[in-house]
Symmetry: C2
Subunit: 691 residues, 2 copies
């Protein structure tokens, strides 16, 4: 594959591929029941052309057959040839690709079949067609023969979104790949990357994007005004070409900051009226607008609590204002006391999401979705699943994960996150027999609701390769694919991404796959142990600082003393374990039955406690940290072995990151081991160097 | 006193004072041997007028008698009255103030005497006169009668400078009182504050000022070019009016950044020639220029080490270039490895200054001065004295202290630093019998040299009250006074400053004095114990973070484990103690003879080690931290009792700071105690709350 193009185009580089008999279908392409002039169909055809030409050297010849039952379009080519409507025209005996609308398929769905030289893409709607085309191109890019293919794909989750934390000054909160490509100097940027971005998103099934940071400040507050409407609309139109709904993060206090009203009370008539008028304006000016994402009453952001109102009061007020336009309000549940006193052992940040949202279950409007972070804390390398997911039984829910590697290595350290996302989706909440996994809840299967889905904080920036560490693009790719088809395994996703993005050389695939599949566990080994989290450099969140957050106000403590460590969240402690359904609640509640990877999240454990492996806790800490570093070293060496087998730029980029990862892993290993040795006084059984 | 004016004018507010018979002298003022038109004499007369009018309601009537032996000026008033030269004119029988040049007095010296209604200021030169006038005004401001006064004052230190760490963008490195009043948006600011600043400096005997940060970057590199010469000269002229030499910090790499030469090698002929030309230009364009301050090879700054040259090579090359103009080069000794590995127990930052500079003792040009921080580390609340001071026996030395409260409370916490400076000055280095204190060394008494002195990093900014916390002005004042007259006690300085700046109400004096005199010890009690230093929030340096620097690259470690803490700098450890002369070296070397306030600086000590008080180390930590907080609370309460007795603005300012100090002290107390309790497992004997 052409690595040079992949550096800038990722998995859509469309470098030369083995034909494997795939080229022939594209010499004769039929479009039936779709209008070639439709924006999404046009995008699909453009992509087909790009892909077929780039990968197979064939230029598709597209013939349009009637559009719809009322038949006001006919076969374009036939018409020009013999001036006669050819509604009944069909491909002849040779190989062909037929793309056809099917009323049997639901919106966004498609099926791809091949039989006797006829390749068929059936789709429920234009977006389904676009996804079907990307599916076919993916097979070619993976160098798989299309002969005999027979798949039908319906997305598992209604909403599949990426959230950008881009600020209008061009900075990105928790961005590790350069600056924003949407904003610069308080202005909106539209350039080559914009369309490429939309193509990348559509190719993995993303159907919604929030372009600005949930912390809406300064200029971003004005995105819903005439100052920006024109450019915002222009940007959103590009997304519309690719079936991507356009979302904005909203400043809950806009009535004050823009409206000149001295309140943001959701029950204040002036506030209600202002938002109704504002939403009318927004949806008129931005036709592709899907709705808004709101972070309220969180980490210093304003919200309904300020006025003694509930989160439901706030969300429903906005929902009512966007309802006439089919808009939705995505309301984040990241509400906790971020001014905790570290001396306070009773307050538990882990409890906050559930405590703040559970009572109003069922009170939210039908077009409100609560967006819930995967864990009760904040995107750590290991956390239990948020008990709100499935805990809420009458409320639309969206899962939020973080593809940006805030706590997982800043796209310096390699950390393939899909295995973690799989664990989250597969987690049994026990909320409803037979449909109790997180995947069930957010797909709508549990409650039969349709405003549900999955969101991820994105890891992109204006770095040439989009994601800083080239290997981090596996997460960018993987999240979308998983959101679309939850049943895909972490390994299957790599089986797609590696040949599309790096090489189809089996040795390269083997090495890269091994690194990526093990990387999350390795990262966990050399960082914070057994679910305790943090121990990171304050603010920055990269690099070790065992006590960095221990005496701070964020509710993120390890409570280590000379005898043991961990937070007691059992019924003898903060009682957090009781927020789960049984049997999870009991399992977490006792030190013996608690899954050991979460032991320190739920319990304060003596260093001498013996784990199921037969090791003491302290020995586990030493061993895992030595192992983690050694594994990272192994990854770096394995990567070195790929020199000459992957694109030089990709090779150099990843090699440079591994250099920094090893430095980081060594610091983590030595700082954590030294910290706990100095605190416990218990030496390493194996006598390795601890400082 | 008029507190309202003092808020903006500090000790030069000149509010109404009790006359006490002082007013009468100013009705009849004679100037003899001085030219009233001389810039410094003019400043002295202006000040006399301001002070006498403001404090006593008298406007001085000045009569000028002949200027010099050659007598080309005569009594101005007499001349206008009877057109006759009155060179022999003398004050009559009534009260009068006579200001007269005296050849018996050395430059900068003065004597003030009163006898039979005649008050006399004799001075060795114009600057001495200025200082003499400020002396007289100080007496009035303190509400002391001038009757019978008889003092002669000669400054103890030739150079008495304040160093600004102001950047040209207006920020101040380690500034805690607003922005710079010298720079804004890469331009030079000259306004009302400029002259007030010069007056304040002259009033306490400061005779040199470095206006820009020692870390010379960006625009500041261009201060020695035509881009800024005009305004720099204008600024320096204002200082000249008050006898203050003007200094700039220099970018050692200016040959590269300005000169277009690809080197800064001090032995490179191109470099030497460029500096010669540049210095010629600088001294021509800035007539009041005294020379330059240089931070080289330090914390990332360029220097001669880059070219394999010595610090002496670098300093002497610049010194040669400024020599023709009487200029001096002040070369900082803050050179250490700021990329240390925390795992490395052998490298000792404390050793670095001595190790880097001692070998070249005697190699420095006569117009080079080495500026040496008071301690071997960096301005901690408690450190031993730098062994370089007096360790160097053939090199000009200047002591550098920090009035800006970087590690001593950010001008939020009250911390009167003069007692610390006194300890430093009084320290016996044992470098030479009979003249071995630091005060001896930097005054020139030890070696008979004249390019010596004392410098302080200043604590001012554009806050209305100059120093953030109004009480921090006691340090601003005190440093200057102490630099001028080393024998002044910390208490005597407060006896001047409090009535001049706050009130002469005995109760107010008593309370403020008690707070200030105890404040340094209190701050020490609740922060890092027994000389260990740091334990502060990284970068910011305010607030507790026990492990904040423990695993970092700065060479600043406490090495605490479950058994004990402290750094072994004895001959069994890093050997730092051997850098001192005997008997200091032996005293520091053993745990038993080491002064206990420095115990953890020199030794790794078990928590169970019994101090001379009979307390164990760990109990000392607990007790001192509880005491420190309680004392701070006592200060705040005592200040509250002054409501109505001091200016409302001053009262509110200091009260607000005490609020923040208590928050900080409580955090320090609880974090330090908790940290060491968790680590040692040893409970507080008194059973107080530790978390």
């Amino acid at each position: 594959m052409d690595g040079k193009k992949a550096w800038k185009q990722l998995w859509l580089a469309y470098g030369k591929k083995k034909d494997l008999g795939n080229g022939k279908y594209f010499e004769n392409v039929w479009l039936k029941g779709f209008d070639a002039e439709d924006r999404m169909v046009n995008s699909a055809l453009q992509e087909l052309k790009l892909g077929a030409e780039g990968m197979l050297g064939v230029t598709p010849q597209v013939k349009q057959v009637e559009v719809a039952p009322n038949g006001d379009k006919c076969l374009a080519e036939a018409a020009s040839n013999d001036d006669k409507c050819a509604a009944e025209a069909q491909p002849g005996a040779g190989a062909a690709l037929c793309m056809e609308k099917s009323e049997k398929l639901s919106p966004e769905s498609y099926s791809v079949q091949e039989n006797g030289g006829k390749l068929q893409i059936l789709a429920g709607d234009e977006k389904g067609l676009l996804y079907g085309v990307f599916h076919v191109l993916r097979q070619i890019s993976m160098e798989k023969s299309l002969a005999g293919i027979a798949v039908t794909c319906t997305p598992d989750n209604p909403l599949r979104t990426y959230n950008h934390w881009d600020n209008m000054d061009g900075s990105i909160e928790r961005g590790y790949s350069g600056k924003s490509f949407f904003f610069e100097n308080d202005d909106i940027v539209i350039n080559d990357r914009t369309r490429d971005y939309a193509r990348l998103m559509a190719s993995i099934g993303i159907n919604g994007v929030v372009i600005n940071n949930v912390n809406v400040k300064q200029a971003a507050t004005w995105l819903i005004t005439d100052r920006y409407f024109e450019k915002v609309a222009q940007l959103s139109e590009i997304f519309a070409d690719y079936g991507i709904k356009f979302f904005l993060s909203l400043n809950y206090a806009a009535t004050i900051e823009l409206g000149g009203i001295d309140s943001a009370d959701p029950l204040d008539e002036r506030v209600i009226a202002w938002w109704k008028e504002k939403m009318k304006e927004c949806f008129a000016k931005i036709p592709n607008l899907g709705g808004f994402l709101v972070k309220a009453d969180s980490e210093g952001r304003p919200g309904p609590f300020t006025y003694g109102r509930t989160q439901a009061d706030g969300a429903n007020m906005l929902a009512e204002a966007v309802r006439p336009y089919g808009g939705i309000i995505i309301w984040r549940c990241f509400v906790y006391n971020c001014r905790q006193d570290w001396r306070d052992y009773k307050t538990d940040r882990a409890r906050a999401g559930y405590d703040n949202f559970i009572q109003m279950d069922g009170d939210y409007a039908e077009n409100v979705i609560l967006q819930i972070k995967n864990g009760p804390m904040d995107f750590q390398i290991r956390e239990p699943i948020s008990p709100l997911l499935g805990g809420l039984q009458k409320t639309n829910q969206m899962l939020e994960v973080q593809v940006a590697q805030e706590y997982t290595g800043h796209q310096i350290d390699v950390c393939y996150l899909i295995p973690m996302f799989k664990e989250i989706l597969d987690f049994h909440t026990y909320c409803k027999p037979g449909a109790d996994t997180v995947a069930d809840v957010i797909s709508g299967r549990t409650m039969g609701n349709k405003n549900t889905g999955i969101a991820a904080v994105i890891n992109t920036g204006n770095d040439e390769n989009w994601t800083g560490n080239y290997l981090a693009a596996a997460n960018l790719y993987g999240f979308g694919r998983l959101a679309f088809q939850t049943s895909l395994s972490a390994e299957e996703i790599l089986d797609e991404w590696i040949p599309m993005s790096i090489s189809s050389d089996p040795e390269v695939i083997k090495v890269v796959k091994d690194i990526l599949l093990r990387s999350r566990e390795t990262y966990e080994k050399y960082t914070s142990p057994l679910g305790i989290g943090w121990m990171v450099t304050p603010h920055d969140h990269y690099g070790c600082s065992v006590d960095g957050y221990e005496y701070d106000r964020w509710g993120t403590y390890h409570r280590a003393d000379h005898l043991g460590m961990g937070v007691d969240r059992s019924d003898k402690g903060t009682g957090y374990a009781q927020q789960y359904y049984e049997p999870n609640a009991s399992a977490y509640n006792s030190m013996e039955s608690c899954p050991e990877e979460l032991l320190l999240f739920f319990h304060h454990v003596p260093y001498t406690y013996v784990l199921k492996t037969g090791k003491t806790l302290i020995q586990h800490i030493y061993d895992s940290h030595f192992e983690g570093y050694d594994e990272a070293e192994g990854f770096a060496k394995a990567w070195d072995g790929l020199e000459g087998k992957v694109d030089v730029q990709v090779f150099a980029n990843v090699k440079e990151r591994f250099g920094r990862q090893l430095y980081n892993a060594r610091e983590w290993r030595d700082q954590v081991n030294t910290y706990f040795y100095r605190k416990s006084g218990i030496p390493d059984e194996k006598g390795r160097t601890i400082y």
